[in-house]
C-alpha cells in the first residue's frame, strides 16, 4: 500500500517536472522576445549591498544596480511594474542564468575571463576600481604598495583579497599582507573600527556605500588598483538581447541618466563620476 502511494507521488512529481520543462521550452527563445511579448522580466540583483542593491524592510529594492536594471528593462519595453526582483548571490548567479530562473543579472557582476565561457555579458555599463577603506586617522595607507605588512580583510566568497595577495591587479604586484578572515563585509567594518585589521578592500562603489553609512570614522583611500567591469549577465548565447542591452547602455550615457543615477546613490561619498562615454563594450559572445 505504502509503496504504491510513493509510486503515485513519484509519478505526479515526474509529471510536474515534465510540464515545467514544457513551460520552459515555450514560445519566447530570447529574453528580448520575452520582454517584447510578455512585458515582463525577472532580474537578479544583490539584496545586501548598500548603494548597489539592497532590499529594504518594506520589500522594495534600491541601489545603483537596481536603477540601471530598471532603465535597461524600460529600453527593452518593460515597465517597472513588470519587473520581478530576485536575489542573485555570487554563488548562484551562473546557475540562475543557465536555468533561466532570471532573465538578466545586474549584481556587481564583474566581466572576467573565467566567467565568459558560462555567461554572455552585455556592457560593461560602469568600470569600478578596487580601493581600500581605512580608519580616518590612518595616514600610513596611501597606495597599493603601502599595504605591505598591513592586515586586510579576506571575505570568503569574494575575490577582492586575491587581487592584492595574489597580484591580479593593474600593476601585477603581489603584496605581502596579513589576511584576516571574515564572513561578510559588514564584519570587516566592525573589525576595522575595532582595530582588528587595517584595511577593507573591494570595489570603490561598495566601499563608498559603507563610508557614507559610517560617517567620519572611515575613509576611502582613493588609490585604485584594478578595473572591475560591471556587466549585465545574460544566458550564454543570447546575442540578440545582449545587443539590445548594449544599445540601452550607450543611450544611458548619451542622455546623461547614468550620471544622475550615480549621483543619486554616491553623492557625498567622495566618489566622483568621471566617465564621459560608455566604456567600450566587451562584445556579445
Amino acid at each position: 500500500m505504502r509503496s504504491r502511494q510513493i509510486g503515485a507521488t513519484l509519478l505526479s512529481a515526474a509529471a510536474l517536472v515534465g510540464s515545467l520543462a514544457a513551460c520552459g521550452g515555450g514560445e519566447a527563445t530570447t529574453v528580448l522576445q520575452k520582454a517584447t511579448n510578455d512585458k515582463k522580466l525577472t532580474i537578479g540583483v544583490k539584496y545586501d549591498q548598500p548603494g548597489m542593491g539592497l532590499k529594504k524592510p518594506d520589500g522594495t529594492v534600491e541601489g545603483f544596480d537596481v536603477d540601471v536594471a530598471k532603465y535597461i528593462a524600460k529600453e527593452l519595453g518593460v515597465e517597472e511594474s513588470g519587473i520581478t526582483w530576485k536575489e542573485a548571490r555570487s554563488a548562484n548567479r551562473e546557475t540562475f542564468l543557465q536555468q533561466g530562473q532570471v532573465d538578466l543579472i545586474v549584481a556587481t557582476y564583474s566581466i572576467t575571463e573565467a566567467r565568459k565561457p558560462k555567461v554572455t555579458f552585455a556592457g560593461p555599463f560602469y568600470v569600478a576600481h578596487q580601493d581600500t577603506l581605512v580608519r580616518a586617522d590612518d595616514t600610513s595607507i596611501t597606495s597599493l604598495d603601502s599595504l605591505k605588512g598591513k592586515r586586510i580583510c579576506q571575505v570568503t566568497g569574494s575575490n577582492s583579497w586575491k587581487n592584492i595577495a595574489e597580484g591580479t591587479n593593474l600593476q601585477s604586484k603581489k603584496i605581502d599582507v596579513t589576511l584576516v578572515a571574515a564572513g561578510a563585509y559588514d564584519e570587516c567594518i566592525t573589525k576595522l573600527k575595532g582595530d582588528a585589521l587595517d584595511a577593507v578592500t573591494t570595489d570603490d562603489m561598495i566601499l563608498a556605500g559603507y563610508a557614507k553609512r559610517e560617517g567620519s570614522s572611515l575613509k576611502v583611500t582613493g588609490a585604485p588598483f584594478t578595473d572591475e567591469k560591471y556587466g549585465v549577465g545574460l544566458k550564454k548565447g543570447d546575442k540578440e538581447t545582449c545587443e539590445a542591452v548594449n544599445k540601452a547602455i550607450t543611450k544611458m550615457y548619451s542622455d546623461g541618466t547614468i550620471k544622475t543615477l550615480f549621483d543619486k546613490h554616491f553623492s557625498g561619498t567622495g566618489l566622483n563620476f568621471t566617465a564621459t562615454a560608455a566604456p567600450p563594450a566587451e562584445g556579445c559572445a
Partner: protein, 227 residues
C-alpha cells in the same frame, strides 16, 4: 549537461581544499580536547557535594547548551576579541584560531558534561558509598572509582558529540577562522555553485566523520563495563 558534472574545479583547487580540511582537523582536534577537559571539570562540579559548585556548573551548562553556537562564536570573535581587544596574538591567524577553538569548546563542553553525567548515573551508588567507607575523599572517589566507569559507558555518545563538533566547525567563519566550508564558499564565487563542488566537500566531511563514528563504536564495545 557536461557543465553540471564538471569536476575540474575540484582538481584545480585540490591543494587549497586540502589546506581547508587540514584547518578543520586542527580546529576540531584542539576543540575536542579542550571540550573534554572542560566537560570533565563541569561534571565534577555538577556532582560535587558543594552547592555553589553545583549551581555554577548547572548554570554554565544551561546557558551554553541553549545559546546558538553562532552567537557564542560571534561573542568570542567580534565581542571579546575585536571590540574589547582581548587578543591572544597580534597575528590574526593565531588569534582567531584560538577564539574559534575557545568558542567551540566552551559550547561543546556543555554537551560533554551532560553525556558524562549520564555516565556517572550508570555507576551503582553502592560503589561511591564503598569508596567513602574505605576513606577516599570526594576527589579520589571521582577520579579512581566513578569517572573511569562513567567514561567507559558513554564512549558512543561522546563519539556523536565529536561528530557534531566536526560539523559545527562549518560556521566558525563568523569567528574569522577559515576552514573547509569557507574554501567551498570561495569556490562557489569563482566557479559558481555547482553540484560537483558540493559533492566533493560533502565527501570530504564524511572522510572525517565516518571513521570517527566507526572508531567510537568499536571503542565503546571494547571498553564496555561488564556488570
Amino acid at each position: 549537461m557536461e557543465s553540471l558534472l564538471d569536476f575540474g574545479p575540484l582538481a584545480e583547487e585540490f591543494t587549497t581544499i586540502l589546506a581547508g580540511f587540514w584547518a578543520t582537523v586542527r580546529l576540531s582536534a584542539m576543540s575536542a580536547l579542550l571540550a573534554l577537559l572542560l566537560g570533565t571539570i563541569l561534571v565534577a562540579m555538577r556532582v560535587s557535594p558543594t552547592p555553589v559548585l553545583r549551581s555554577v556548573g548547572t548554570a554554565y551548562v544551561n546557558v551554553l547548551r541553549n545559546t546558538p553556537l553562532t552567537l557564542v562564536l560571534l561573542l568570542s570573535a567580534l565581542g571579546l576579541s575585536d571590540t574589547l581587544q582581548l587578543t591572544f596574538s597580534r597575528d590574526p591567524g593565531v588569534n582567531y584560531y584560538w577564539w574559534a577553538t575557545l568558542g567551540l569548546s566552551a559550547y561543546t563542553a556543555a554537551f560533554v558534561c551532560e553525556a558524562l553525567r549520564s555516565g556517572v548515573n550508570t555507576v551503582p551508588p553502592g560503589q561511591a558509598e564503598a569508596a567513602r567507607a574505605i576513606g577516599l575523599t570526594f576527589t579520589q572517589t571521582l577520579r579512581l572509582v566513578v569517572l573511569p566507569q562513567a567514561f567507559r559507558s558513554v564512549i558512543a555518545p561522546l563519539g556523536s558529540i565529536l561528530i557534531a563538533l566536526i560539523k559545527n566547525t562549518t560556521i566558525v567563519i563568523v569567528a574569522g577562522y577559515i576552514e573547509a566550508s569557507s574554501v567551498m564558499k570561495q569556490m562557489f564565487d569563482d566557479y559558481g555553485g555547482t553540484l560537483p563542488i558540493f559533492l566533493g566537500f560533502a565527501l570530504g566531511y564524511m572522510v572525517l566523520t565516518l571513521p570517527t563514528g566507526f572508531f567510537f563504536g568499536w571503542l565503546a564495545k571494547r571498553m564496555a563495563v561488564v556488570r
